[in-house]
């Protein structure tokens, strides 16, 4: 509605200043009129020209007129002008002939577009490293050597092999691979062959995932081996996934592979590598996947440099840790891989962060250019006899290719209450929607059945259509004759048709009994409560205030700053203390932020838009009205229980060492031998997660010793060095500076013996196969980061935590700062250990997500919610117990249960539990469901 999509469009120039930017764009011709195209696919079916399909990484073919993939948005065909026979040679013209809606326009021209905007967000992403130039890996010389993106397409059900794991070299005989190898760091951590010295951050985890998926796809036992340097699975739950993969039999070999060659005699691929003990090995594989890294495309490079934006040595946008989504150009923000290699959750967080940052300066112009929907008046139909309209969808050939649609339509016409039936090629296409609106109005339809796909993806769309037609949006029922029928019974078209009829009959039976449902509007309290005054909490509070919303900031301690107060420098060498002081000063100077120190949340009532929270501080208790809440309670460095910690003054944690640096302690000057031990208390049976920040923190501290005195012996004992992304630069510098790195495993942990002034640290050099011993002046332990105890807060806000205590987001990939509870958001280390830049990005992201609630005047509640009949309710409280959303309470006076519409999610658990059928779920009441069941059985 307020997003205008400009596809096939590129930015050519921008000018102006933040708040008033003029952008010039060029839109390339599509040669297909998007208003007319109904995506029927006839054009592509008839098009004679086949070209390698980019979407399938060249492993399959597409036509010269195509949609990139079947779920593409917009779902409109495009002519590829470089390959179209008509556009290149003025021959053919078949697509124009067959197009039923006359959408083809060979004369389409490119257009220049000028936009006036307040700010710009760059999110052009990455291109995968092209391994063609790497002779030693033989990419392009054998079809069974694929890139990781190619392998995604091999695994995908919509891919060129239909999701069947067969060798690309022998698709005909459907020969399945028995052994697959993944080669990590192809085009990453490699200055010699690729110029990409950084770590691409995501490849370790996707390789693990692909190996697990491959085993899942394979009928016979599959040998999967991942060849890696360090397993970098530092994200939330990633190590658990890694351990599971090991348990499932995925082999992990610590080695950078020397060569991969096709073996013409044996017909498969031969690989040479040196194993961990230094032995030269040769092994045969059927298939090799190159875990290619992420890099910036030439187009993105040109875009950024054209705008005058500073890039780093690897062409990623230069950002600083305290402004992770700002570029060097005011008014231009960036997110995703353009600012550095990162995974999906981090990209999504940064995207939301960029949304907050890009609109901060524009806050006074909020709602000046957005459009509001004008909805037609709703027709009253509650008392009218059902006049049901049935729309049966072919979904191209998805349903129509299996199910006999005309037969289903004819059958539907005979069902009770049905007055109108229509067959559609795509019921969801824009032109069908427009026609539906007309039909509903002209025929006076008052209940609608759409027999098509799943309500999960399409019910909202059809509800909008009903609104446009002046009908209550709940008067629709969908019959899923695609996912539950044509897709799963494609071998038995006749039975599929019978089942489609059954599904339609059931939907009609329910539609017959549908009643309009109503929503009420509740005003939103336009202010926020932020719990936790560390870097994340303060950043979020400032962001919200700058967007024009008052904030109450609750901090448990007597001072703000959190862990930030104890940190020395970021990995980019930025001083953290002045930054934290600046944040505190900004908070104190901000008239819209009320800070409560020494304060805790006692209790929370209400729901999204209307929370009432009781906060107690030393001298008073107050009730705060707020529309949203952000939880940023941070985490804490654990106290080690091993390596003589607490028994000898030479042994300390990273934060304790930072304190010595800040105090300029003389022991640092005197230290001649310094040892760091990584993963102390992390990544073991009791605490399986990675604390994410310690490798970088330790190496940065190690470098500080080397910089002070290059003669200091500095040793880092590690399990996997996880300097992900551009942090790899630091690791490389450390090695160059002479810091020595020794790998250890859980079964060969270092042994620490306290001496008089020093502690002796004994460990194994795996390459020499020898025990070494260092008498350390300082032994620094990278102690695990622990979650804080958020039990009380979680209960108060009805949010959850995982088994390690990290607060649980609504969806790990796509909703990384939302809780499942509406109106409550999370950021910073309470979510998972993370460095300062990521905490700040997540804090801004949480602010952005909160703004989507705060900027609304009201929220709608009601619709599909439960209602409890007080006459039937015996007051047993069974429904209160099963409700996951705490939406049901007991009315103490009447001793009956009552539903809060704003909290009810319409799951129906109460209705299913109640022995006396007192609750009924609107839109799914017993009458409607029983009718549907009876109809299913009445053949």
């Amino acid at each position: 509605m307020n997003i205008e999509l400009l596809t096939l469009t590129e930015v050519t120039a921008i000018s102006g200043q933040e708040g008033d930017i003029t952008a010039t764009l060029v839109q390339h011709p599509r040669y297909v009129d998007t208003d007319k195209c109904i995506a029927c696919g006839l054009c592509a079916e008839k098009c004679p020209k086949k070209v390698p399909d980019e979407y399938n990484e060249g492993l399959g073919k597409r036509k010269a007129i195509y949609v990139p993939y079947s779920q593409a948005v917009p779902l409109k065909y495009t002519i590829d002008p470089n390959n179209c026979l008509y556009l290149t040679k003025e021959r053919c013209g078949l697509c124009e002939t067959v197009c039923p809606s006359h959408a083809i326009n060979y004369l389409d021209q490119k257009k220049e577009i000028t936009l006036n905007v307040g700010s710009v967000v760059l999110s052009t992403g990455f291109k995968s490293f092209d391994p063609s130039g790497l002779d030693h890996l033989s990419f392009g010389k054998h079809p069974d050597i694929v890139t990781s993106m190619g392998f995604e397409r091999v695994l995908s059900a919509t891919g060129p092999q239909g999701g069947h794991l067969v060798l690309p070299s022998d698709k005909k005989h459907k020969k399945e691979p028995k052994k697959i190898a993944w080669l990590q760091c192809v085009g990453s951590r490699d200055e010699n062959r690729s110029k990409n010295s950084y770590c691409s951050s995501v490849c370790c985890m996707y390789a693990v995932k692909q190996s697990v998926m491959a085993m899942d796809h394979s009928k016979a036992p599959l040998d999967c081996a991942i060849f890696y340097m360090d397993m970098r699975t530092q994200g939330k739950d990633f190590d658990t996934y890694l351990e599971k993969a090991k348990d499932n039999g995925v082999r992990f070999v610590r080695s950078r592979v020397h060569t991969v060659m096709p073996d013409p005699h044996k017909g498969n691929l031969v690989m040479t590598y040196v194993d961990e003990l230094g032995a030269l090995k040769t092994e045969y594989f059927d298939m090799v996947v190159l875990s290619t890294g992420l890099e910036i495309s030439a187009d993105s490079f040109a875009l950024a440099t054209g705008m005058g934006i500073e890039l780093d040595a690897s062409n990623f946008i230069n950002t600083n840790s305290f402004n992770p989504v700002s570029t060097s150009m005011p008014g231009i923000y960036a997110c995703g891989v353009f600012t550095g290699p990162k995974d999906i959750p981090q990209s999504v967080m940064e995207a939301s962060a960029a949304a907050a940052a890009a609109t901060e300066g524009l806050a006074v112009s909020r709602n000046t250019l957005t459009k509001a929907v004008v909805k037609p008046k709703e027709r009253e139909v509650a008392e009218d006899a059902p006049k049901i309209g049935v729309f049966v969808c072919n979904c191209g050939t998805n349903i129509g290719g299996i199910v006999d649609i005309p037969a289903v339509a004819a059958y539907a016409a005979e069902l009770p209450g049905v007055v109108y039936v229509e067959e559609n090629l795509f019921t969801c296409s824009q032109d069908t929607q427009d026609k539906m609106v007309e039909v509903i109005r002209n025929k006076g339809l008052n209940r609608i059945v759409v027999a098509a796909c799943t309500p999960k993806t399409h019910e909202e769309l059809f509800r909008e259509t009903l609104i446009d037609a002046g009908l209550n949006k709940y008067l629709i029922e969908m019959a899923n004759i695609r996912n539950q029928d044509s897709w799963v019974h494609s071998d038995e078209p006749e039975k599929a048709t019978t089942k489609a009829k059954d599904l339609v009959r059931m939907a009609v039976a329910k539609a017959f009994r549908l009643a309009p449902l109503f929503e009420t509007q509740l005003p939103v309290s336009p202010s926020a409560l932020v719990v936790g005054g560390g870097i994340a909490g303060m950043t979020a509070a400032l962001s919200l205030s700058r967007q024009g919303y008052p904030v109450t900031l609750v901090e448990k301690n007597q001072h703000m700053g959190g862990n930030g107060r104890q940190l020395c420098k970021t990995w980019k060498n930025e001083e953290i203390a002045p930054f934290v002081k600046g944040l505190i000063a900004d908070i104190e100077a901000d008239g819209q932020i009320q800070t409560l120190l020494g304060a805790t949340v006692e209790s929370v009532e209400g729901f999204v838009g209307n929370f009432k929270t009781t906060v107690t501080s030393v001298d008073k208790t107050q009730l705060i009205d707020h529309g949203v809440a952000l939880i940023a309670t941070g985490a804490v460095e654990s106290k080690p229980t091993e390596y003589a910690y607490g028994q000898h003054k030479a042994v300390m944690t990273l934060l304790e060492l930072d304190a010595l640096f800040m105090e300029k302690d003389t022991r640092l000057e005197k230290a001649m031998e310094v040892v760091f031990i990584q993963c102390v208390g992390s990544r073991d049976k009791e605490h399986p997660y990675c604390s994410k920040v310690c490798c970088t923190h330790a190496i940065k501290s190690a470098m500080a010793f080397k910089k002070k005195n290059p003669d200091t012996g500095v040793y880092v004992l590690y399990r996997d060095i996880r300097t992900y992304g551009q942090r790899e630069t630091l690791y490389r510098e450390a090695r160059k500076a002479g810091i020595l790195f020794f790998q250890y495993d859980l079964d060969s942990k270092p042994v620490v013996t306290p001496g008089e002034n020093r502690v002796s640290v004994e460990f194994t050099d795996t390459i020499l196969g020898r025990r070494l011993c260092v008498d350390a002046d300082i032994l620094c332990l990278s102690a695990r980061i622990d979650a804080r105890d958020n039990t009380h807060l979680s209960q108060a806000f009805k949010v959850t935590a995982d088994s390690a205590g990290w607060l649980l987001e609504a969806h790990q990939k796509l909703r990384p700062v939302d809780f499942a509870t509406d109106g409550v958001f999370l950021c910073g280390m309470s979510h998972y250990p993370k460095p300062v830049d990521e905490s700040i990005a997540q804090a801004k992201a949480a602010a952005a997500r909160a703004l989507t609630v705060l900027s609304r005047n009201s929220i709608n509640v009601g619709g599909i919610v439960a209602q409890i009949d007080p006459e039937r309710c015996a007051g047993c409280g069974g429904c209160v117990e099963v409700c996951s959303y705490n939406a049901i309470t007991m009315d103490p006076e009447r001793e009956v249960a009552v539903v809060n519409d704003a909290l009810c999610k319409g799951c129906g658990a109460c209705a299913a539990t109640c022995p006396s059928e007192a609750p009924s779920l609107m839109g799914f009441n017993n009458d409607q469901l029983y009718a549907q069941i009876k109809s299913a059985l009445a053949v």
Binding site: N2, G19, P68, V120, D237, D299
Partner: protein, 65 residues
């Protein structure tokens, strides 16, 4: 682009997002849902970006589409 001028008193209430992958789409949605008009600019014929090419995503093994 001019670096050194302060934001005008009446800034434009619209934002241009360049790139329609998962990051661009999320940014566009959040900006639009907080009261600003968004132009989402995409070089290719469809939005979705690289994530639309992925099969499943860890750690939940959800379908990426």
């Amino acid at each position: 682009m001019d670096k050194n001028i302060n934001t005008p008193a009446n800034p434009q209430g619209a934002v241009m997002v360049v790139g329609g992958g998962i990051a661009g789409m999320q940014a566009a949605l959040d900006i639009a849902n907080s009261g600003f008009y968004v132009y989402l600019v995409e070089k290719s014929p469809a939005i979705g970006g690289k994530m639309a090419q992925l099969d499943k995503t860890f750690p939940t093994n959800d379908c990426a589409m």
